[in-house]
Amino acid sequence: MLSAQPLERRLQLAGSLLILGLLIEALCVVWTRPIAFVVFAGFGGILLAAGILVYLYSLVSARVAPSKKK
């Protein structure tokens, strides 16, 4: 279920992309045809990269509570 918090929602999106990428990577490890590397790099690699980028973006775009001035 999607979280109501924007940061958590982005983390969920990043996680979902990464799980899809890892699933493709796992299939390509089992699949022994020469095209497996192309699928691994072309689809799995893009999904993993997208997941990591969304995660990093979620970190830099997270709002922090303003610190109290003395």
């Binding site: 983390l11 969920q12 990577e25 490890v29 020469p34 590397f37």
Partner: protein, 217 residues
């Protein structure tokens, strides 16, 4: 599946399960420990999986079974079992002058700088032609570039049988010319019989050891 493949698969499954926990319970990343866990699970572990996966696929693409898994290459695999020492590829494969598990790659890679990368680019072109192009008949397949003596000399240079062989030393100009790639080892009337896949119906085959049978069709 070999051990590296099993270990990689295990790492992928563990990583996916940990990511699944974060997807189902993203609230755990609110704590400091959760943030560290998130960094490991959503950044470091996927990077490690991708790196290990790439290494695994590159290593697998060097294997003889991998090269021979396309049907166009089957006759080339059979040519490794020709029962005739004059057949260069067969003699190298059967006598383990090249590692039997990486027989194709050992001779057909490029031992220059970025040679492995160039070999992989050629491999990607093979995959493209296999799936989206019109593959030529096995006997019509040609190398992209003439075979460079450098690939032979990678192993043979300095070897006593090569440097002091009777045929090699009969003409004092022969070895310097071969080392300078001015004459080809394969097409100068010396070692011309390599794969000869068009003539495989005329030759006898070695039954091979179980290991040799495993790596060839």
């Amino acid at each position: 599946m070999a051990l590296p493949g099993t270990l990689l698969l295990l790492l992928i499954v563990v990583t996916a399960l940990l990511i699944g926990v974060l997807v189902l319970r993203p609230g755990v990343t609110a704590t400091q420990g959760g943030k560290i866990l998130g960094f490991f699970v959503l950044f470091l572990l996927p990077l490690i999986c991708a790196g290990m996966g790439t290494t695994y696929h590159i290593d697998r693409s060097k294997r003889t079974e991998f090269c021979l898994s396309c049907h166009e290459m089957e006759p080339y695999g059979k040519s490794l079992l020709v029962d005739d020492p004059a057949h260069l590829a067969a003699a190298h494969f059967q006598n383990h002058r090249v590692p039997a598990d990486e027989a194709c790659y050992t001779c057909h890679t490029n031992y220059a700088m970025f040679g492995g990368f160039r070999a992989k680019m050629h491999g990607l072109k093979h995959v493209y032609v296999h799936y989206l192009g019109t593959p030529p008949a096995p006997e019509a397949i040609r190398l992209y570039d003439p075979f460079n003596n450098r690939e032979c000399l990678h192993c043979h240079l300095g070897a006593r049988s090569f440097e002091e062989g009777a045929v090699h030393t009969a003409d004092p100009d022969l070895l310097p010319a071969a080392k300078a790639n001015k004459i080809s080892c394969l097409s100068s009337g010396c070692h011309e019989t390599v794969h000869q896949v068009a003539d495989l119906n005329k030759v006898k085959f070695w039954k091979g050891t179980p290991d040799a049978q495993r790596t060839t069709p």
